[in-house]
């Protein structure tokens, strides 16, 4: 199984939830279950993109080379539990909407 990390280019005006060109490959520990992990070094701009939620991790496999699983890397957002209300709207990722 491969593990690829994709980054969304801010210059393209794209953002959260919008697939973009691949930015990195991460070498990962191999396995079919449990935890897999790897590491990479980000530039300052890539770090900013990560903090803005413009990066996601995509796990590819032989049968699905275009992606099995996709996970967006977003800031921590505590979840109080199903049906537990929070004041305001709670965590709501923000696409760059100009208003």
């Amino acid at each position: 199984m491969d593990l690829d990390v994709f980054a969304i280019q801010h210059d393209d005006g794209l953002g959260i939830g919008i697939p973009g060109p691949k930015a990195f490959d991460i070498s990962v520990t191999q396995g079919t279950s449990g935890m897999i992990w790897g590491s990479l070094t980000l530039t300052r701009k890539q770090l900013a993109d990560l903090r803005a939620g413009r990066m996601y991790v995509q796990i590819n496999s032989e049968k699905a080379p275009d992606g099995n699983l996709t996970g967006w890397l977003l800031p921590p957002h505590p979840f109080p539990g199903e049906g537990v209300p929070v004041a305001g709207q709670g965590f709501l990722p923000q696409f760059e909407v100009k208003k």
């Binding site: 794209l14 709207q89 208003k99």
Partner: protein, 714 residues
């Protein structure tokens, strides 16, 4: 022999100077495709149609549109998609051989010739190498399955609908019935629920306050009633003078004693239902009549006391795909209805219409598509009129008696994407708009386009809620993109908006006009491009309606959180061709941790959220709020919550036999407050999407019913 025939046809084509491509034999047998016909009719035909032409959200499975979407994909992909997601909302529920036979039939219907090896589902065969979309005459001649809404004989859908006679199946007479007047509709009695969202303003708020935040935990079931199965049910129980009127599948109307659940009369108007299109969302009352817009695009007036038909009017021809699911409303002696499934290329177009409540005579029609030469007709990129479709009205409107103006929302234009429609950057009026109409004449007073040139099946068709803020008369609405809009309902001017779920469709909303700008990659997208849409076609906000509580100025909004990648498919510009022409790949909305359901309360003055909570299961009922400070909402996981309106805190909950659906209402009989909640099937995208994203949640494929709760007498 078959091979020789194929070769001969290729030679003939070559001799005529026509380019042709020899088709390979299909990876299925004659036995499979032959057996597949009945299985298709039983499991698929109700939605996709006898001729595989598709209808509504069900795409065509034959012809040029199917080949355009699937020609370059393989039989394995097609088999896997059908198996995983069909029947709609109940994927993987049939055995593998049944799926194989159905796929074989679909391929054969598209001109694929049977071979010698049976289909297994793992064949890597490009569909355009075996099929050309042309149906063999022998298969065309076999059509006996009824069209949706068309009645007639032939195989029935797999979803069981009991064989029963239609017509006046239970006779009885209401002991008393006070005719419904304009004054009653303008100010409903506290114990009544006379229309879809209870009052003309569309609030779904009951002034009853026997049930409070302090005692709601004591609610008990008083009675229940099994409604017809065999199709979608999103009913609004209508209550007047202690009588509950229900609309069920097969366009069945029932009058029950709202205190005891005793059936008084029943009229099964028909035709029999299908899985996806079962029953109207709401009946309407006026004078001594009950008005029933039916799934076969007719309008019936029943005598309220007996259920007998007084008159019948044809809204549009159901054989051409038209239907009505959105319910009706009555204003000043007229009954107003919308129309849906206007997604085929033809010379007709969708409309809102009004009928005399006494005679059924049509009073006016307002066409929701602007044609060439008409105001707004220049917003369709110069398309010929017959290729301007959509703008359905599948939710009943609201009404301001003082302004004598009725407010309706419209659906998006069809097909879904700009590329498939060929409408460029045109706004495609009056799609995805708020319409303000004179109910006496049908004349348009103003319109506001919420999503000019929509691209993702993101309707703005839902309830229009009328709220006054001081001297400002506002209309609020929220659509699938999840933006809560506030307009001045006198002028149609934009006032404000609020984003209620994550959205990445618009990258700008003009602060003065509210006009949104689509992302550049959306504007630049072409046929075949996969483009992200958050939310996807389940919303944001969908048909499970909001409630407005005037005591707190809070609008409680059921929200759905999922996304899609959508691919624009080509659509042949030809009369009779139609559909939505968009393929979808569903994915979890970023930042939601798999919580598809979100319930949020927004202050309509400030447009700020007061509270919000999330849960795995999306909500499938409209919200009810009450003067007792308690609200109610139900979900896909069969759960109904009673919550404190001010805080969102759950105070009571129960579970129903299948998904909680439809529209929760509250009424009173003999001084006692009741809460009526439906469980039901169907529901379109809000049901279909979680069936894929939440495989761990199970609900039965039957169980249309009403449950009525109240506090114990002591």
């Amino acid at each position: 022999m078959k091979k020789q025939l194929l070769v001969s046809s290729v030679l003939a084509a070559a001799l005529l100077g026509v380019s042709a491509i020899a088709l390979e034999q299909g990876p299925f047998t004659t036995d499979q495709s032959g057996a597949g016909r009945a299985l298709y009719a039983a499991n698929c035909g109700a939605c996709h149609g006898a001729t595989l032409a598709g209808a509504g959200e069900a795409p065509p499975l034959a012809g040029s549109t199917f080949l355009a979407a699937w020609g370059n994909r393989t039989t394995e992909e097609f088999y896997n998609l059908v198996k995983a997601s069909m029947p709609y909302g109940n994927g993987n529920s049939l055995d593998a051989d049944t799926y194989r036979r159905i796929v074989a039939y679909v391929l054969a219907y598209n001109g694929a010739q049977p071979g010698t090896k049976p289909l297994t589902g793992s064949e890597n065969v490009k569909i355009n190498t075996i099929a050309d979309g042309k149906t063999p005459p022998a298969l065309l001649a076999q059509q006996t399955t009824p069209a949706r809404g068309g009645g007639g004989g032939g195989p029935r859908p797999a979803t069981y609908y009991p064989q029963t006679r239609l017509g006046m199946t239970v006779t009885g007479t209401l002991p008393t019935y006070n005719p419904v007047t304009d004054a009653m509709l303008a100010k409903p009695a506290d114990g009544d629920w006379l229309m879809y969202r209870r009052n003309y303003q569309g609030w779904s708020n009951s002034p009853l306050k026997q049930v409070t935040a302090g005692n709601v935990k004591n609610l008990q079931l008083q009675w229940s009633w099994a409604m017809n199965d065999g199709g979608a049910a999103q009913v609004t129980p209508i209550v007047h003078d202690g009588i509950m009127f229900l609309s069920g599948t097969a366009n069945t109307v029932q009058a029950l004693n709202a205190k005891t659940g005793e059936l008084i009369w029943e009229n099964r108007i028909g035709p029999p239902p299908t899985r996806a299109y079962g029953a109207t969302r709401s009946l309407a009352l006026y004078g001594d009549k009950v008005f029933v817009p039916t799934t076969d695009a007719k309008l019936y007036a029943l005598e309220a006391k007996t259920g007998k038909i007084v008159w019948q009017a044809v809204i549009e021809n159901a054989q051409e795909g038209y239907s009505n699911t959105g319910g009706a409303m009555t204003i000043r002696g007229k009954v107003l209805v919308g129309l849906t499934y206007c997604n085929r290329y033809q010379t007709k177009h969708c409309f809102i219409s009004a009928y005399d409540t006494n005679t059924g005579k049509v009073a006016w029609r307002f066409k929701t598509i602007a044609l060439k030469g008409e105001p707004g007709g220049d917003t369709w990129n110069n398309l010929p009129d017959e290729f301007r479709q959509g703008a359905e009205t599948w939710i009943a409107g609201t009404y301001d008696p003082e302004l004598n103006t009725t407010y309706w929302g419209t659906a998006q234009s069809k097909p879904w994407t700009r590329a498939s429609r060929g409408t460029g950057a045109g706004a495609t009026l009056y799609a995805n708009s708020t319409l303000a109409l004179d109910p006496d004449t049908g004349k348009l007073k103003w319109h506001y386009s919420h999503a000019p040139g929509e691209n993702f099946d993101l309707d703005e068709v839902f309830e229009r809620v009328l709220v006054d803020h001081g001297s400002s008369k506002d209309v609020l609405t929220i659509g699938k993109v999840g933006v809560l809009w506030k307009l001045n309902r006198v002028t149609g001017q934009y006032e404000d908006s609020a984003q209620t779920v994550f959205q990445n469709v618009f990258d700008k909303i003009d602060p003065k006009t509210g006009i949104p700008t689509y992302r550049k990659d959306v504007l630049d997208s072409k046929i075949g491009d996969w483009i992200s849409s958050c939310p996807g076609p389940a919303g944001g906000h969908d048909w499970p309606a909001t409630s407005y509580d005037p005591n707190s100025d809070l609008m409680i909004i059921p929200l759905h959180q999922s996304c899609v990648l959508m691919r624009a498919e080509p659509m042949e510009k030809k009369i009779g061709v139609g559909g939505n022409a968009g393929s979808q790949l569903l994915f979890e909305m970023p930042g939601t941790d798999g919580n598809l359901g979100r319930l949020s309360a927004y202050n309509t003055s400030t447009m700020k959220a007061a509270w919000s909570f999330q849960q795995k299961a999306p909500f499938l009922t409209g919200v009810l709020t009450t003067a007792g400070g308690v609200g109610f909402v139900g979900d896909y996981d069969r759960r109904v919550r009673g919550f404190e309106t001010a805080t969102g805190k759950t105070l009571w909950q129960t579970r129903l036999p299948t998904a909680a659906q439809g529209h929760i209402v509250s009424y009173a009989v003999d001084g006692k407050q009741y809460i009526a909640i439906e469980s039901g099937l169907g529901g379109g995208s809000p049901v279909g999407k979680p069936a894929t994203l939440l495989p761990g949640i199970h609900n039965p494929n039957n169980g249309n019913a009403i449950f009525v709760f109240a506090l114990p007498d002591n």
